[in-house]
C-alpha cells in the first residue's frame, strides 16, 4: 500500500477519535475514541517504519499497544468503580465536581 494512503488513513482515524472524545458523552465511548487516536498513531509509526526499513517505528507501535492495554485496564477499573452504583453512563452526570 502506498505510504501516503496509510498515513492518510491514520490521520482520518485520529480525527475520528479526537472528534469522538470531544463530542460523545459516554465515558466508555470517549475512552474508546481516545484509544483509537493511539492506534492511529501506531499505524502511522508502522507505516513510516516500513518505508524507512527501520525497526524503531515498529517497536514504538508495540509499546503503544502494550501501554494502551495497561491504560484500558486502569480505565475500565475506574469507569466501573465510578458507575457501579450510578447505573448510567453519562459524563454529564458525573458532576459532583463543578466544572
Amino acid at each position: 500500500m502506498p505510504l501516503n494512503d496509510v498515513v492518510g488513513l491514520g490521520a482520518v482515524l485520529f480525527a475520528i477519535g479526537a472528534v469522538g472524545v470531544l463530542v460523545r458523552k459516554n465515558p466508555l465511548i470517549m475512552f474508546m475514541a481516545a484509544e483509537m487516536m493511539w492506534n492511529a498513531a501506531a499505524l502511522v509509526f508502522v507505516a513510516y517504519a516500513r518505508s524507512f526499513h527501520a525497526m524503531n517505528g515498529q517497536v514504538m507501535a508495540f509499546i503503544i499497544i502494550g501501554t494502551a492495554a495497561a491504560e484500558v485496564g486502569i480505565g475500565l477499573a475506574i469507569i466501573v468503580s465510578v458507575f457501579h452504583h450510578r447505573h448510567r453512563l453519562d459524563i454529564d452526570e458525573v458532576s459532583e465536581l463543578k466544572g
Binding site: F62, G66, A69, A70, V72, G73, L76, A77, V80
Partner: protein, 117 residues
Amino acid sequence: MITHYGALLLYVVVAFVVAFMVANSSERMGPKAPGGLKGTTYESGIVPEAPVKYFSVRFYRVAMFFMIFDVAVMSLYPWATSLKTLHQAGMLKALAFLVIVAVAFMYVWNRGGFQWD
C-alpha cells in the same frame, strides 16, 4: 502468485458469507407464526419482570487482568521466535521483563485479584 494474506482475506470473506447463510437459513425456510408467549424470554416459566443489565464487577476484573497480562504475553512472541539467535544476553534482558510481570502477577494474586468470591 497470491500472497498469503490475500488468500486469507478471500477465505475470510467466504467464511463470513457461509456463516451468514448457515445461521440465517431457518429465517428463510422455517415457518412464521409469531404470537402468544413466544416473544418473551425464558425464565423457568415465570413471566420476566425486567431485563437485567448489570452483573458482577468480578467479570470486569477478570477482563482487566487478562488485558494486562495478555499483552505482556503477546509482546514475548517476537522474542520467543528469535530466541535461538539471541542467546543468553537476549534471555537475560527478557528475564528482567518477565520478573516484572511475575512480580505483578504475584502482587495481584496476593491482593486478592484472582479471588472469586
